[in-house]
């Protein structure tokens, strides 16, 4: 007992010293350079470099270590009785990197930019329900919604909704001025971006003096750089690569379940998938446990065709073992006693798609579903194949339950990739949004997911578990999802 105490005291001391000490050392990591020369520091632009914006800008509300909304630049919030008007108290004494202080006008400006249809931000869909943002006083903001929305704080946790100084829109893409723990010293998306510690960060001075975020587009090169100790962190390690790093004392690994999913979309407006029984059969034919093992090397969590992430409070608890007999029966009932032939379109855009297709092909053949894999070019995949071909691979990054269900499954959704039109499902979603009682709301979201399991055309076999590898000199990296990491905490030896 004494020993434990002593240890924890020591730990505390180490912890305290690491926080108290002046920022020191350089932390290096790579980013994927997804948008080349269109890369930008504007958090709401398509070309945003998330690996940088996450460190330099803050949100009103961030996900805590438990994933629930936590105060960031907003200290507290409350809603009116029907959840249409939300009031946020802002944190006082926070300054931007340029010295100006953070106030209500900045919040109005930052959210206004996202909501402006002309700006064309992809982040707009997360907060489209916002009707008006007003300042009650310099430290209080009132947000009025066009529809009741009980989980508004969840939406404001979106990783793109970062607070910028008022009027900075034209320059933010290169200056990156925010309130985060690090400041931009030099932005060079294709080369090395240099960040330095922001001594005035509201949560305290960061542990690392300098960060270098380096653009390396080739995944193998990023891994080689980590293996050679040239970078300190790599977030895109695959389940198979994990094996290679896990034996070594030079590296630390974190496995973090995410809500990012990969799967196939069977268009519900095209025969034979207009028949709910066929849709269910093609999904029942999959052995999801085996898919996780085969495709991800075990690095994933089985999903039962729900886009809600495993740790989300609204995730429905469905089980979906492979059921070849039932799949066959459903196909026979639908008029296909001899099975069906389908063309599944994949591209190497997502490296795991072809493997997923192959593994699914082998599994589904047992139920008389003969899969023909059609490999199409990566270029133009989203324009020419996805939402065009009858069966195509898809991938999405996690989003709050309500947003995922609305953006991809609602009859009128812009990205309704399976052309899913179901009035009953739409009703469930809109009543859930209006429901202020958490348990009742949860019941509605769960019901919506169960409804999907019976009817959807989207096959979601799993969500991916992210493997983050760091060199052993890195300490205090929160073992949480990307957008909840507290960057000021980390230190390097």
């Amino acid at each position: 007992m004494i020993k434990i105490k002593c240890c924890s005291a020591l730990l505390l001391a180490v912890f305290a010293s690491s926080v108290m000490a002046a920022p020191s050392g350089t932390f290096r990591q790579a980013h994927e350079l997804g948008f080349g020369s269109s890369s930008s520091l504007d958090p709401i632009s398509k070309g945003r470099v998330f690996q940088i914006t996450e460190k330099i800008m803050s949100r009103l509300i961030r996900p805590g270590l438990d994933g629930k909304p936590q105060a960031d630049l907003a200290t507290s919030w409350s809603a009116n009785s029907d959840a249409t008007v939300w009031t946020f108290k802002l944190r006082s004494g926070v300054t931007f990197h340029d010295g100006s202080s953070f106030e209500a006008a900045d919040v109005i400006y930052s959210l206004g930019r996202v909501l402006d249809p002309e700006s064309g931000s992809p982040a707009r869909s997360a907060v489209k329900m916002i009707d008006k943002v007003e300042a009650v006083d310099p430290m209080t903001v009132k947000i009025s919604l066009s529809t009741p929305f009980a989980d508004m704080p969840l939406q404001l946790m979106d990783y793109r909704l970062r607070m910028l100084p008022e009027g900075s829109g034209d320059t933010i893409a290169t200056t990156g001025i925010g309130t985060g723990p690090f400041k931009v010293e030099k932005f060079d998306a294709e080369g090395t971006t240099v960040l330095v510690a922001n001594a005035d960060y509201w949560e305290g001075s960061p542990g690392v003096a300098r960060m270098e975020v380096i653009g390396i587009s080739d995944g193998q090169a990023r891994l080689q750089a980590l293996l050679g100790g040239q970078i300190d962190m790599e977030r895109g390690i695959t389940g198979q690569q994990k094996v290679m790093l896990s034996g070594s004392s030079k590296f630390k690994l974190q496995e973090i379940p995410t809500g990012n999913w990969r799967g196939f979309v069977f268009r519900t407006d095209v025969k034979p998938f207009t028949d709910q029984r066929v849709r269910k059969a093609v999904r029942l034919a999959a052995d999801r446990e085996a898919l996780v093992a085969l495709v991800l090397g075990g690095g994933g969590i089985v999903a039962c065709d729900t886009p809600v992430e495993p740790n989300d409070q609204y995730r429905a608890n469905i089980t979906c073992p492979q059921d070849i007999a039932l799949a066959k029966k459903l196909l026979a009932d639908a008029g296909f006693p001899n099975g069906i032939d389908i063309d599944v379109h994949v591209a190497t855009l997502e490296p795991s798609w072809p493997t997923l297709a192959e593994a699914y092909q082998q599994q589904a053949s047992k139920a008389g579903i003969r899969v023909n894999i059609v490999q199409v070019p990566t270029d133009g995949y989203w324009k020419e194949v996805w939402m065009k071909k009858d069966v195509a691979a898809t991938r999405w990054n996690e989003r709050p339950a309500d947003q995922a269900l609305h953006e991809i499954y609602l009859s009128t959704a812009k990205w309704n990739e399976s052309y899913f039109k179901d009035a009953g499902f739409d009703d469930l979603l809109s009543s859930a949004r209006r429901q202020l009682d958490f348990n009742k709301r949860k019941a509605l979201y769960v019901q919506a997911q169960e409804h999907l399991w019976e009817n959807t055309g989207t096959f979601i076999p799993y969500t991916v578990t992210k493997v983050v590898g760091t060199t052993s000199r890195v300490s205090n990296l929160d073992e949480v999802k990307n957008d909840a990491v507290r960057w000021h905490k980390i230190t390097v030896d």
Binding site: S37, G120, G191, Q224, Q230, K383
Partner: protein, 318 residues
């Protein structure tokens, strides 16, 4: 001589102009444009419209080409997609890096290749020739991605002597690329040395077998005097041509090496800008590479001509 030079220069200009037309047409035909490539799933409706308007993609292709060509003539290559940097500067940085890689490789490779080429030719079919000739074939034929990968594994991952991946920014100074540049230089130099070595070897053997060398031998001129006075000067001429072609290859053709080592050269920028449909950048790179190709070839021909008096009169040889 001067009229020939002018003629070659104007022909070179026509070649470069043709390149720009070919590339413009080629990239125009690609499915999608800079906007659909950037916006991916969001490439619809208003967003797409705005993007196309911002990037000036709505005008007819010919108009855009003429606009581009007339500004390119006066050295204005436009600004990058994000509207922040001049393309001349962006491409110029990459170009410098490619030149740096090429220069280092040539510095190591050319003397080595000439030395080994002469040795293998003089001791033709002897063990030393077999060893280096075989090694040259290996160096030429083993794909660059294989040798690069092996070098990274051995020198970076296992031994830890050299950094495996180049992390230096594109606009860094030459000195900053050391020591990261060493492994890519080794790979490039290996391939290049092998090609030049074989070339030198063949041509030394040719000259050794020529009539005037035989004549000199019969006259009793000492062997080494023949080698240094007659064989080498004549044999090294054709090597100039290979070196010239190699420079052109080094600038644009080492994409694989650049990708594996993350080296910020022209080649990688080229494939990235194709997948981004960044037409102005593709155009600028094609223009530069074509100019380099034309001018190194011209220089090589001129050098050959200066070095070999017999060719001066035969300028219509090719």
């Amino acid at each position: 001589m001067l009229s020939m030079l002018l003629r070659r220069l104007s022909l070179g200009f026509i070649t470069v102009a043709l390149v720009s037309i070919i590339i413009f047409t080629g990239v125009e035909f690609l499915p999608g444009d800079a906007c659909t490539a950037f916006l991916e799933r969001e490439a619809q409706g208003k967003l797409l419209e705005n993007c196309r308007r911002d990037l000036d993609l709505n005008r007819p292709a010919i108009d855009r080409y003429l606009d581009w060509a007339s500004s390119a003539m006066v050295g204005d290559l436009g600004v990058s997609v994000n509207g922040q940097q001049s393309i001349a500067e962006l491409v110029g940085n990459r170009m410098n890096n490619s030149l740096l890689l090429a220069f280092c490789a040539l510095l190591v490779g050319v003397p080595l290749a000439i030395f080994l080429g002469v040795i293998t030719a003089l001791w033709r079919d002897k063990p030393i020739d077999l060893v280096f000739s075989t090694a040259a074939i290996f160096a030429m034929t083993i794909p660059e991605f294989v040798s690069s990968t092996v070098l990274i594994l051995v020198f970076s991952a296992w031994l830890g002597w050299l950094p495996g991946i180049v992390l230096t920014s594109a606009n860094a100074s030459a000195a900053e690329f050391f020591p990261e540049i060493i492994l890519p230089v080794i790979v490039v130099a290996m391939v290049m040395t092998a090609h030049i070595l074989r070339m030198v070897r063949t041509s030394v053997i040719d000259v050794l077998a020529s009539d005037y060398v035989r004549m000199a031998t019969l006259k009793g001129v000492p062997y080494w005097q023949i080698v240094f006075q007659h064989v080498l000067p004549n044999a090294l001429l054709p090597a100039i041509n290979v070196v010239a072609l190699t420079i052109a290859w080094l600038l644009g053709g080492v994409v694989v090496i650049e990708v594996v080592f993350n080296y910020p050269g022209l080649g990688r920028m080229m494939i990235d800008s194709i997948s981004d449909r960044d037409l102005p950048v593709v155009q600028a790179i094609a223009l530069i590479l074509a100019t380099v190709y034309v001018s190194v070839n011209l220089t090589a021909d001129l050098l050959t001509m200066i070095a070999n008096p017999r060719l001066r009169t035969l300028h219509m040889r090719k």
